[in-house]
Point group: C2
Chain length 208, copies 2
């Protein structure tokens, strides 16, 4: 019965990933060893290495969880040729981070803590830096697509480079993650209100 075996493999993989995520969030990437992860997951070393060859592979899998959530958000935002306001897209991303990553449902772990650890570690670890670059280019590209749609709808200046707008949108999201973790009294509602005050959303001109 291959289906059961596949399910078993998927469950085992998820357990190892959850153990790694708990340790990365609590102790950081640098201070967590493969041996720590093997101990936390309560499986054999062979089992762990059968799924993940290195800490970098585990971090990539953790990042994939966050990216899947982001892809789903962008999929909904951009469905049916919609052209959402950039400020709205940023607010939806912040909402998704708050509800789906700060208490990730499968593990209970705050994935944003792992994100900040990876930022710091990437400055000293070229393999991790390459992966982080790819992840953030993908996110920035999705933000840029929102700006491109908005521009095609005539609601952003024609001489605007959507990639530049995407960078500013991603920056707002990253700033929220950081302030939520480091500055007391940061709430998604307050932060989003600040963005909305800065980005007055132009009203679409009704088609005659």
């Amino acid at each position: 019965m291959p289906r059961v075996s596949e399910q078993h493999r998927a469950d085992r993989r998820a357990e190892i990933l959850a153990a790694a995520a708990r340790l990365f969030a609590a102790n950081g990437f640098h201070a967590t060893s493969m041996a720590d992860i093997i101990g936390e997951a309560d499986v054999s070393a062979g089992a762990v290495y059968g799924y993940f060859r290195s800490k970098e592979d585990l971090i990539a899998a953790v990042a994939e969880t966050a990216l899947s959530a982001a892809d789903e958000v962008f999929g909904e935002l951009l469905a049916d040729n919609a052209a959402p306001a950039p400020a709205h897209a940023v607010a939806v991303l912040i909402e998704a981070i708050t509800t789906r990553l700060m208490h990730e449902p499968e593990t209970g772990v705050d994935f944003t803590r792992i994100g900040v650890q990876v930022w710091a570690e990437a400055l000293r670890n070229p393999a991790l830096a390459a992966r982080a670059d790819a992840v953030y280019l993908r996110l920035r590209g999705n933000c840029a697509e929102v700006a491109r749609r908005r521009q095609q709808a005539g609601l952003l200046p024609a001489d605007t480079d959507p990639d530049h707008v995407g960078a500013a949108m991603l920056g707002l999201v990253q700033g929220f993650v950081l302030q939520h973790l480091l500055i007391s009294g940061t709430t998604p509602t307050a932060y989003t209100a600040g963005i909305n005050a800065l980005f007055p959303t132009p009203t679409p001109t009704p088609t005659p």
Copy 2:
């Protein structure tokens, strides 16, 4: 001659601080010990501890360099009761970070790398977290003052909370720091252009 002695003390302190900054930027806060700093500064342990009791004290002094630069920027922005556009203030901050912190003139060190290390370390070090909270509250407060001035000039909606706008402004700056370090092809010019496309600056109504 107390003046010479004071100068000597100040020079010695600056040398120790530069050594610490070099090590924090290269290896991170966690992986740098007081012994490493004493070795790098080529002074006696007694000399270092005479100026700085702990790594946290050294990080606070490094942060003070960055904060002094920020205070100077805000001082200029807000001189003579000016009410600069928030997007302009963010652009000026990003310019100051690029020219004064990414290659800090006294040390040649990229202070933004130290910032990212501190963000990660603050998640596991309560003393550092308290200092980071204070530093970022001060920066966010300065951003909020720009928004308050703008609101008083009638160029931000009256029902806007300036503190919320300050949070979004600081978020844009933090996002730039992160993207500059982690995403290839990030430039201050492109990032600032993206902000300007999002924040159309209202033209002040001429006083009749």
